[in-house]
Amino acid sequence: MPTPLRPAALLLGLLALGAAGAGSAPPEPPPTLAETGLYADPATLRLAPSVLFYQPQYPLWTDGAAKARWIFLPPGSAIDVSDPDAWEFPVGTKLWKEFAFGGRRVETRFLWRATANDWVFATYVWNDAGTAAILAPVDGVAGAAEIAPGLRHDLPGRLDCRACHESARVEVLGFSALQLSDDRDPLAPHAETLRPGAVTLAALEERGLLSPARPEWVARPPRIPAATPRERAVLGYLSGNCGACHNADNPAGTTGLLLRQLVGSREGSVPPARATTVGVEGGWLIPGASGHGSLRVAPGDPDGSALVYRMASRRPASQMPPLGTKVPDREALELVRGWVAEELTPRR
């Protein structure tokens, strides 16, 4: 019988990837979360004053985890936003994302641009008391917390991190012009109410953290040019949850399925997540259907839409996203199914 991927293979792979990118082993993440610089006082979990709290408007679904996110930018630095869709973060940038299930902290993921050539990926696993977190093994931790009866949350291995975070031109996901737009989408699944102090595009611009300055993003915050409010939320959800891989800069883009919404694209152009799905046959066939490939989105027919099928599946050959979730996102499925059934006209 074949042998599953083992920790040793993951480590080898990680080393190989690092060697390929920089010519030397990448820096190692600190052994504890406290040493990453997130907290001014690790004993009380009081945050460092230099970290900025942020809330993407189209959050990634992780089986209902409650999340908190922070970014640190080195003093005096700014994000190079010359390319509005591929921000260049200064060396020393750090990001954290805390995951909690049932009110208990489970893990905090850490992304650190340690050198010009090295992004460090790691996750820290919290103790049961929720008082401290230590570096998780390189291949992750299986079954770290219960997310539903009989299902447990896995902490990702570092290669899992790279599978998504190295799939686009920029390693940082969720901190972008669209995600931080002040024109927030009220229909976005799992949208969070903006908390006081959360940084948005306007806040970044005001603090001089964008280079060059982008006053147009304050005057006219980025917004998906959708036909209806519901379509806007659908396309935003697909961008935030699927666009990290399904974009033109990634091998998955060779399939022609493009789900990332760009803010630098021409105004009035059809959003790629609509242009490459609605009425478009893909290479994947819904089980039991005939032909070579099902329509990615079959107007008027959610059950005949491969995109809907795969969003709803958690079977290994079918599920999308292929990692990071074990429970389908019911709220998003209801939104997408309604869009397909009620807003898209079947072909006559």
């Binding site: 074949p2 042998t3 293979a9 190989a16 599978a163 799939s167 060779t254 089980p287 290994p316």
Partner: protein
Amino acid sequence: MRTTTTLTLPILLALSAGASAAPPAPGASPEERGGYLVRIMSCNDCHTPLKMGPKGPEPDMGRMLSGHPESFGVPAAPSHGDGAWVWSGTGTNTAFAGPWGITFTANLTPDPETGLGKWTEKTFLETFRTGRHMGHGRPVRPPMPVYWISQATDDDLKAIYAYLRTIPAVRNRVPQPVDPPEPAAPAK
């Protein structure tokens, strides 16, 4: 007393195919080394369909490394029950059914629509490093020995990729993998 000579399947296949596994000469190109690696790593065993010849099953080298034949279709997999026999394969040796579902071997030829034509070298390497389709997608399914091949060096994988760019493109759309049946709901 009559003597019977038994040829094991791999030996028979190698003889039938007339394959040469001579090691590449010093200074050989990556493509030459890649071809050698593909032969000795038995990639053809599953990625080149078998056909019935006068001596038994033999690789159909006219469809070299083009994966499970589209024309073969997706026949229903046999039931294996809970016994010792847990997986099975088709006579082409290109489709395998087991607890993981049904797997069809990939088209490794450079056909742009049905093979690896659009794959980059980076995509190829990341598939083995991560064990995921195209480095980012679904897990590579059994019985592909991705774990063992992941231990190859970057140079060896690059050589294999280089060789696979040189072989004849075969248009053959391999079926997608099939998930296992949903587990039965617990009795109430």
